[in-house]
């Protein structure tokens, strides 16, 4: 029986070793301990309580861990595996424990205990706190993402930011792009306060973080590129007319956006450099007289594009092979992806390429749906009376962020496994057009 002992960073709690059978990987995962080094006087200060609370939140919401209520549930779980000797010690310890259910990923139903320690050991990884909450939380989240990757093979999401547009007063035409942690905390504005900026796409290239977004600063909405931390911006494209609803390819070498350069809203494909903007001429991808096209999204491998078009009467979602279009075979007819009849819009292709999230009306209320490409099946993910739009995937393809538009504009994160959304914004103002960095 292979045994894995796994531990994650500790703040409080006592030693708890719970050896369990572990069959996910062929080799035993090495023991990994993290020890935060607080001065003793601060050991139980509010600062650490906040860090502890953040870790608990992240384990549950970002790392797919399920918190187990002490003792009773732990007994039940441990009894399944008939682990000897050290169980006695485990049962005598109170404190929080998080169990990661591999059922979510493998269906095997095996469990790994994650436990916490407060005593430093020689082999502990050690990092000093900065006592700046945003920095320490980010560092903790990066470690947690690394842990998630190691256990599940899926990328972690806790350390990647969400970008969104925020308009403080809906009656005043000013709005900025903001960046925040995935739980909505540590939010900060990135663009000029006198601008109206929407549709952010955040990405990291050559070690720097950038945003691609739509700005009305020049009167007509145009695409701009800006490094996070700077207010200098670069025009992305010289294409005439409005430039709206950008999206970027996984390799950051291409973008697609909507423009009315031809006299109607159409999708254009553009070669792109992350720091220089557009390269060469944009390519018109699709046109139908008298119709409107919107919301392009790339497949992760860059071979296809999904977009919205109303050339069939009402807005629906279509898939277009980019290879067919680029070779101008004349057969580049987009494929209608079917789905509910209720005005399907704002599609977003999952990073693993397997799913498409979008918004569609169910009766009179917009809900978030997901389309499985392999099964060709549409599934409604959300319920409730709030209109929901603009889903954006996290890089694990298991979480989505979206915004409501009624009764108010707020951002929510949805875990596809639990189907439980949690709100990450509050207060007055319109929070919308979210984008989760991947």
């Amino acid at each position: 029986m292979k045994v894995a002992i796994f531990s994650v960073c500790s703040l409080f709690g006592k030693e708890l070793f719970v050896p369990l059978p572990f069959e996910l990987h062929e080799k035993v995962i090495e023991e990994q301990r993290f020890y935060l080094a607080p001065p003793s006087s601060l050991a139980k200060s509010g600062y650490f309580i906040e860090l502890w609370g953040t870790l608990a939140f992240d384990l549950e919401h970002a790392a797919c861990f399920t918190k187990i209520q002490p003792q009773k549930e732990l007994d039940e779980i441990l009894s399944i595996y008939s682990v000897a000797q050290k169980i006695t010690k485990a049962r005598s310890i109170l404190g929080d424990a998080w169990l990661f259910s591999l059922e979510n990923f493998s269906g095997k139903g095996k469990i790994i205990a994650v436990h916490l320690e407060s005593q430093r050991r020689e082999e502990s990884d050690f990092f000093c706190l900065d006592y700046e909450l945003s920095i320490d939380v980010l560092r903790m989240r990066r470690e947690l993402d690394s842990l998630t990757q190691k256990i599940s093979g899926r990328p972690g999401i806790a350390s990647l930011p969400i970008f969104y547009s925020m308009q403080k007063d809906p009656k005043v035409f000013c709005g900025q792009i903001w960046m925040a942690h995935y739980d909505g905390r540590f939010a900060k504005p990135l663009t000029r306060p006198d601008d109206y900026a929407i549709c952010p796409i955040g990405f990291t290239s050559f070690g720097e973080r950038y945003i691609l977004f739509v700005s009305y600063l020049e009167g007509i909405p145009k695409l701009f590129l800006q490094k996070v931390g700077s207010l200098e911006r670069l025009n992305v494209s010289n294409l005439r007319g409005n430039q709206l609803l950008p999206t970027i390819n996984k390799n950051q070498a291409n973008i697609a956006f909507v423009s009315d350069a031809t006299g109607q809203a159409e999708i254009f494909f553009q070669s792109f450099h992350p720091t220089k903007g557009a390269i060469g001429k944009p390519i018109q991808l699709f046109s139908r007289p008298g119709s409107v096209q919107a919301s392009p999204t790339f497949s992760p491998d860059g071979s296809s594009l999904v977009f919205v078009s109303d050339h069939g009467g009402t807005p629906r979602i279509y898939q277009l092979s980019l290879a067919d279009r680029m070779l101008q075979k004349g057969k580049a007819a987009p494929k209608d992806l079917g789905g509910p009849l209720g005005e399907a819009t704002s599609p977003s292709w999952s990073p693993d390429g397997k799913k498409l999230a979008y918004s569609a009306k169910v009766g009179t209320v917009r809900q978030i749906w997901v389309y499985d490409f392999a099964l060709e099946k549409h599934t409604q993910l959300t319920t409730g009376f709030e209109d929901k739009e603009n889903p954006s995937w996290a890089q694990d393809s298991l979480h989505l962020v979206y915004n409501t538009t009624s009764p108010s504009y707020q951002l929510y994160v949805l875990d596809l496994l639990t189907k439980k959304p949690f709100r990450i914004t509050c207060g007055e103002g319109r929070f919308h057009y979210p984008y989760w960095e991947k």
Binding site: F173, I198, C199, Y216, L217, E218, G219, I220, P221, N238, L239, R240, G241, N242, L245, N251, A253, V258, D260, A261, T262, G263, Q264, A265, E266, S271, I279, G280, K281, P282, I283, Q284, L285, F286, S287, R288, P289, G290, V292, Q293, A294, S295, V308, P315, R325, M326, Q328, K329, G330, A332, A333, E343, T345, S346, E389, N390, T405, S406, H432, Y433
Partner: protein, 247 residues
């Protein structure tokens, strides 16, 4: 991913030697295969490609030498140097008439506006809502549900009045702002807002206003004037407004 930059030298001698030979080879292949009744769509594309080479070869013979041009990707071969973008081909539209060509070359919006009074690139603060007499000319126009065309005579008359004023004031630039009601999604509405604005723009062009003085702006449903969830509010929000920029 690495980007491939193609540097194409289209000089007289190179075209003469390489392209003619290549064109000849393609032409021979096309004729041979046609004779063997092995026709398919790909062959037609190759024949068109051959014709382009022959054309360029002919141009180089009469001295119309193209300068070296850096192209970002292979698809730029399909665009003429005058075009701002690489258009979708007619046959991609499955024999339906294209509106795109009608809007190219001379009917498209200008790339730039003239500098403002300070000699700077204009920003949104330079585009003014019409006031006084102008407000009665450039009046807000409202649309019926799901419509982007104006049918009422009073709306048509208003547009003609705008056209007359614009003709008398050649230094005036007009921003046509399309707005939508809240019922469709905000992303789709951003694209939809261009539809109403472009209808107005094309109407004014037909009335004789220069295309490069008219600009569209889509606000989608980002700027409602009535925030209620009621059909009266929807009717107020389905509108086109105007901003003026004068040099």
């Amino acid at each position: 991913m690495e980007r491939e930059d193609f540097i194409i030298h289209i000089g007289r001698n190179k075209v003469k030697k390489k392209s003619i030979a290549r064109a000849g080879a393609h032409l021979f292949a096309a004729l041979f295969l046609t004779g063997c009744s092995l026709w398919n769509g790909n062959l037609w594309e190759d024949a068109k490609t051959s014709a382009r080479y022959i054309q360029r070869a002919g141009q180089s013979l009469v001295g119309d030498v193209q300068e070296s041009k850096l192209v970002a990707n292979q698809w730029e071969f399909y665009a003429s140097s005058e075009e701002d973008f690489i258009p979708v081909e007619e046959n991609d539209l499955h024999n339906t008439p294209s509106t795109t060509k009608a809007n190219q070359q001379g009917l498209m919006q200008a790339k730039k506006l003239p500098a403002n009074a300070k000699g700077q690139k204009p920003t949104s603060s330079d585009f003014l809502s019409p006031a006084g007499q102008l407000a009665s000319i450039f009046t807000t126009l409202h649309f019926a549900t799901d419509e982007h065309v104006l049918y009422k005579q009073e709306s048509i008359d208003a547009l003609k009045k705008m056209a007359i004023y614009l003709k008398r004031n050649p230094n005036m630039y007009l921003f046509i702002e399309g707005h939508c009601d809240k019922r469709a999604s905000e992303a789709y509405n951003l694209a939809l807002g261009t539809r109403r604005a472009n209808f107005i723009r094309q109407f004014l062009i037909k009335e004789g206003i220069e295309a490069d003085r008219l600009f569209t702006v889509s606000h989608g449903k980002e700027r409602p004037i009535d925030f209620r969830d009621h059909k009266d509010a929807f009717a107020k929000n389905r509108r086109v407004e105007f901003k003026i920029y004068q040099v």
